[in-house]
Symmetry: C2
Subunit: 168 residues, 2 copies
Amino acid sequence: MEPILVDSPGTLAEKHEDAVSEPAAVRLWLRLLTCSMTIEKRVRRRLAEEFDTTLPRFDVLAALDRRSEGMMMGELSQALLVTNANLTALARQLQSLGYLEMHRDPNDRRSWLVQITDSGRTHFREVATEHHHWIASMFAGMKADHSQQLYALLAELKESLAASAERS
Amino acid sequence: MEPILVDSPGTLAEKHEDAVSEPAAVRLWLRLLTCSMTIEKRVRRRLAEEFDTTLPRFDVLAALDRRSEGMMMGELSQALLVTNANLTALARQLQSLGYLEMHRDPNDRRSWLVQITDSGRTHFREVATEHHHWIASMFAGMKADHSQQLYALLAELKESLAASAERS
């Protein structure tokens, strides 16, 4: 069971959505949020139940898996949008599991190079394969061309979001 | 500024998405997540900056605004999917701002009836109107019929999610 967080986003999503008085854009947003939260919640639960791991750990390994030469801690922190302090805690956990190694940068003794281990890679790929199956199964009820349409429309939404950020 | 949380979902979303090796369903999920996180983050920031409030507070007032006769604490807690302890803290904050009143249930002295005040309603509607403008502006770059298509496709996805939950 994952904890119920008071600051989980838009917990009223499902309730709001059926309110006909809600303007169309808000109803669209709440439906998007409902879908996103449902998928995310299931992914978090299955990561916990089936692999005794978390989304942030999975994200760290995903980043490191794509960069076999390793990443500097600061670079990893930027890529993952997490603070250095939080990332250090995460990295220490993954290190104690044998999934990554941390080396001091010979040029800057305050900096750390983080590198995935063979064992980390094996673990990550196992989880990633299952993760792919979970996601595929959640979208399996959609017609193939509809998923493609959804993908294209979300690209249009991303552009709209970028344009509205520039305006504001 | 909202704090950067280490457990924010799928922080690698944007990075992953361009990886051609990612299976289609995962790419679709990551794009959905990116859109959802972007909108949510902006809404949280604007609630904080423009109204000095939070999404959970806004959710509580939204629920109470639809039920002028008030709601029992337990009922509100279920509707919002938050724990009683968390909700009590939230309700106390809103009470101290004068936005809601808490009355003991005469039939069960351990229970509380929570009711929005006139001032709470005025505040909520002001925030809700702005919230609507923010959302509308974020979707404004999409063609009108495309937003409708997106809305319909997300309904199909919701059904797919419900079906996959039954299977698992």
